[in-house]
Structure formats: structure tokens, C-alpha cells
């Protein structure tokens, strides 16, 4: 069975030949093309080649185009630092939004003036053409509140939510306008799904009501637009106590990529029971744990997760967040092997 058939059946909550698998091999793929992180992040030909090679080398069932969480913020004018061996990040000494009043200066930008987002669109276009017939390509987009925090700094933005909520909402609304055009262009490449990273929709960060108010209502518009193009909406959130219910209500996702147990469940078995027929569950191997886990422990964790979630389809084995960018590929190979070994229907 081709990955696209396997994943297609899985997303319809049917049992395919086996559980699909994709440890989120993103930044680590740069090693396969001998590229530095800055080159991999900014040269989309290199990035595409890396994604193609890693997909082939590990029989990945999904390509998820996560580059870094600064892609969108950079195009709004945030200065970004590109370290040699880790993901790009905002220059914390030079945030674009320096004062609470600066939120009101944020305006929507056009994609023609957005080199990093345009690069990501090109990446998706190339991957859909080169791999899309066999492997589903999922475009990764950061949520509007997350993007705003990259331009202000998280601590300041979280306090601003209390100090001047309307100013923050102005920024989120402006970013949302841009993201609507962005998802239009991504959908036009032929990707079957767009994954929105709603980083703050969990107990790790803010209340459910606050998330609804400051991101939910905005990301709802983006999700609606994605569906208008016939694309599936997927969610990624690696927070603790993730708000499945609020996000399902507002975004109607086909799948949720998660790491921790949602706030309204007490076990992973309950997650399957409560949400397994509503959304496809993607996860939830902890990436940091892979750094110290033995091979046997990784096999066992994968087996345990597969046993918990595989019945009736609707489950993809994956890491709950990006695979460690500087780890060897050994653990990734084990994860894929485990899906083939334990995930058969």
C-alpha cells in the first residue's frame, strides 16, 4: 500500500495495512544533504531535497513541512537569527514590537513581500510535484498568536493580554489576514492538508477562554478558509493539557498531532475513547526522551502507543513534536520499524 492510500484510509478511520508513521524528521533532515541549518532553512531547493531524501530513506508516510517557528514573523519584519546547528529564532534583543503601543502598527502583508512564506509555498509546490502522488504533503503554518509572540516575546505578550487586550487583538487580526492569503497559496500547490500550530491552546500556557478570545476566533477563520479549498485542517500542539474540545469545536480538524494528554482526559486510552472516532490522533512519542532512551525502550514505547490507539484506524504513530534536530537517525529508524512490526492490522 502506498503511504497516501495508507494515510487516506487512516484518516477515514479505517484500518489500512498498518499504522502509518512519521517521526517529525524536519531539521535533522539537513544532515542527509550536508547542509547547515541556515542553508536548510532558507534555500528551499536544499530543504526540498532533504525532505525528499528523508522520506525515501525512512519510508515516511507523511511529509510535514515544518521549517521553524519564525517563518511568518520574519516576513512581518522580525529580525531572525539563524544559528548553525539549531532552528532559526527571533533576535530576542530586537523584537519588532518593543512597546505595547506597537501592536497597532502591525498590518497585513502581501505574499509578494514575504520571502520566507513564499519560500515555504515553493517548498510545498516542489514536494507535491515530486512526492505528492505517493506521500501526502502537509503544509505547516504557525498560528497567529504564536506568530505575534515571536515579534514581541512571550512574556511581554502574555502580560499585554491583560494590559491592553484590544492592542493584541489588532496584531492577531492583521496576521490572520495575511495567513488567509497564505493558506490560499499553500492550498493552490495541491497539498491535501494544512497543519496549524496552535502553540498556546493548552494548560501549559493560558486558560481555554483566553485562548478562544485571543486566537480561537481568528484561527477559526483560517480553518474555514482551508476547508473551502477542499484541504483538511490538522492541528499540532505539544502543550501539556491541550484543549482538544475547544479546538475541535472551533477548527473542526481532521487530525490532531499531540504530545500530552488533553485537559479533559486522564489517560491516553481515554483520549482514544473520547476523541478517537472524531479526529485522527497523531503522536505522541516524546522527542526529548529519545535522547536518553535505549533502543528497546523506544520499541516498547511505540508498541504501547500503537496498542492504545490503532484499533479502527484514526491513528498515526509520530513524535509529539519535532524529532531532535541533532540526534542521530537511529531512533527514527526504530520508530518506523516499530510501526511496521507492531502496527499491522
Amino acid at each position: 500500500m502506498k503511504p497516501i492510500e495508507r494515510v487516506g484510509l487512516t484518516l477515514q478511520h479505517k484500518e489500512a495495512d498498518r499504522v502509518p508513521v512519521y517521526p517529525l524528521l524536519c531539521g535533522v533532515s539537513r544532515k542527509l544533504v550536508n547542509a547547515t541549518y541556515p542553508v536548510w532553512s532558507t534555500d528551499m531547493d536544499v530543504c526540498a531535497e532533504a525532505y525528499e531524501k528523508v522520506t525515501d530513506a525512512f519510508d515516511l508516510d507523511v511529509i510535514c513541512t515544518l521549517i521553524d517557528l519564525s517563518v511568518e514573523a520574519a516576513d512581518f519584519g522580525q529580525t531572525v537569527v539563524y544559528p548553525e546547528n539549531e532552528a532559526a529564532h527571533p533576535d530576542i534583543k530586537n523584537y519588532l514590537i518593543k512597546d505595547i503601543a506597537d501592536y497597532r502598527t502591525i498590518e497585513p502583508i502581501r505574499l509578494r513581500n514575504a520571502p520566507r512564506m513564499s519560500g515555504h509555498i515553493q517548498l510545498c509546490d516542489r514536494l507535491v510535484k515530486s512526492k505528492g502522488a505517493d506521500v501526502p504533503v502537509v503544509a505547516f503554518v504557525f498560528g497567529p498568536l504564536g506568530i505575534l509572540s515571536m515579534m514581541r516575546g512571550q512574556s511581554h505578550m502574555f502580560m499585554d493580554l491583560w494590559d491592553d487586550p484590544e492592542a493584541v487583538k489588532h496584531g492577531v487580526a492583521a496576521i490572520t489576514e495575511t495567513l488567509l492569503e497564505y493558506v490560499d497559496a499553500l492550498a493552490a500547490t495541491g497539498v491535501p492538508a494544512i497543519m496549524l500550530d496552535t502553540l498556546y491552546a493548552s494548560q501549559s500556557i493560558m486558560s481555554k477562554d483566553m485562548w478562544r478570545e485571543f486566537e480561537g476566533v481568528y484561527v477559526q477563520k483560517i480553518a474555514d478558509r482551508i476547508r473551502q479549498h477542499g484541504c483538511m485542517v490538522m492541528i499540532h500542539n505539544c502543550g501539556n493539557g491541550i484543549y482538544f474540545d475547544a479546538q475541535i469545536e472551533m477548527m473542526k480538524p481532521t487530525a490532531i498531532s499531540f504530545l500530552h494528554i488533553p485537559d479533559d482526559c486522564s489517560s491516553y486510552a481515554e483520549v482514544k475513547e473520547k476523541y478517537g472516532s472524531e479526529v485522527t490522533l497523531i503522536g505522541h512519542i516524546p522527542p526529548p526522551w529519545l535522547l536518553s532512551a535505549t533502543d528497546e525502550e523506544v520499541y516498547e514505547e511505540c508498541r504501547r502507543e500503537i496498542e492504545t490507539f490503532k484499533t479502527g484506524g484514526g491513528y498515526i504513530l509520530a513524535t509529539g513534536c519535532e524529532y531532535p534536530a541533532n540526534l542521530s537517525f537511529d531512533k527514527a529508524r526504530i520508530i518506523v520499524d516499530a510501526a511496521k512490526k507492531y502496527g499491522r492490522y
Binding site: P83, N85, E86, A87, H89, I92, Q154, S155, F158, M159, L161, W162, D163, Q203, S204, I205, M206, S207, M210, G241, D263, P287, P288, W289, L291, S292, P324, A325, N326, L327
Partner: protein, 209 residues
């Protein structure tokens, strides 16, 4: 009554309310230690419990911490005048290469709320800077934070540098951050792993007893 006002204002993150309450309390000759313990610290303890129970979240804790700091600015000179000693001292920082500060800031706030004096070295802190801060401040606790899998290994380098400087026996080392686990803490030779800021506070109180 004024102590309750300070307590409530701090929990709301109301900087002006906290400052006004403290000034009022000082003007009425209330002892600084009482204002600290029953006004500020008890409020922070309540915030800590609510945070642990998911009744308040990071934004609420951050504005409460800001109100606490504003209150302490006003109160600190009076505490020094009256000879009130902190219960302990901690040096905190996010390790080199890592720029995330929320978790570390929450820990700082919780430790300050527990009555410790905290020297916050910020983010992207090198092993040498940790060693220098230990030599300068002679803390009971050194807290290391990391959010990334690419930087958590730096914690081991910090501990090695502390050992090489001959300071390991003088401090207890606490580690935490999203990717950090208790197993990792043991592997790198830390004394304590704290899974969140509330636990860091609980553990810190035990360490300085």
C-alpha cells in the same frame, strides 16, 4: 484589612493596588516583615497553588509576579533596615544557546514567593557565568533551565564547570524545562528535578531548610 487588600491586588496583578496597599501599611507603622509575609508572600503562595491546580495560567502568574516585584521595590529598603533575612538564596538561568525565559521566570517568581533571594542571570547563560555567579552570591541553590533538546545537554557542561571550580559541594543543583526528565537529571548529576515552577518552589523550600 490592608494586608488582605495587598494580597488581593497582587493576585489580580494590580501593580498600583499593591504599591498603594504597602504604602498604606508602612504609613500605619505595620512591620515590613508582616507586610512581606502576610501581604505579598501569602498571595504568591496562593497564586502558586492556583497555578498548580490549573486555576490560573502563565499570563496571570506573570502579572502577579510583576506586581510582586513592584511591591518588593517599595518594601525592600524597609526590610533591610529592620534586618529581615531571606530564607535562602538561588542563582537561576537558562543555559547557553537557549533563549527561552518563561519557565525560568516562573521559577524565579515562585522562589521569590517562597522567601528566597533570587539572582536571575537571564537567558543564554554560559557555564562560566554560572560559576562566577556562585562565587559572587554563594547561593544555596543553582537552577538551570532549558526548553530545547539542542540545549539541554549544556546543563551537563554547567555542572561539570561547577565541579571543576570546586563548588559542587557548596550548592544544590536543580534542573527543569520542557524536555528535561528526572532520568536526565540523574544522568547529568543534578540534585533535583522539578517538573514545573510550583514543584521547583516546593523543592527549593526543602533544600534551604
Amino acid at each position: 484589612m490592608v494586608l488582605q487588600d495587598i494580597n488581593q491586588a497582587l493576585q489580580r496583578g494590580d501593580v498600583n493596588g499593591v504599591k498603594q496597599g504597602i504604602q498604606e501599611a508602612l504609613d500605619s507603622d505595620m512591620k515590613p516583615r508582616v507586610i512581606l509575609n502576610e501581604g505579598l508572600l501569602s498571595a504568591m503562595e496562593t497564586i502558586g497553588v492556583k497555578f498548580k491546580n490549573n486555576e490560573v495560567f502563565v499570563p496571570e502568574v506573570l502579572i502577579a509576579a510583576r506586581a510582586m516585584n513592584a511591591g518588593m521595590e517599595l518594601l525592600k529598603p524597609k526590610l533591610v533596615e529592620t534586618g529581615v533575612e531571606p530564607v535562602g538564596t538561588a542563582v537561576l538561568g537558562t543555559v547557553k544557546g537557549d533563549l527561552h525565559d518563561i519557565g525560568k521566570n516562573l521559577v524565579r517568581m515562585m522562589l521569590e514567593g517562597a522567601g528566597l533571594t533570587v539572582y536571575d542571570l537571564g537567558v543564554d547563560v554560559s557555564a562560566e557565568q554560572f560559576v562566577a555567579a556562585i562565587q559572587e552570591h554563594d547561593p544555596h541553590i543553582v537552577g538551570l533551565s532549558a526548553l530545547l533538546t539542542t540545549t539541554m545537554g549544556e546543563m551537563k557542561s554547567v555542572i561539570q564547570a561547577i565541579e571543576e571550580a570546586g563548588l559542587r559541594d557548596k550548592v544544590k543543583i536543580m534542573v527543569g524545562g520542557a524536555p528535561v526528565t528526572s532520568k536526565f537529571a540523574v544522568d547529568i548529576g543534578a540534585d533535583v528535578y522539578a517538573k514545573d515552577a510550583a514543584e521547583a518552589s516546593t523543592e527549593a523550600k526543602k533544600l534551604v531548610q
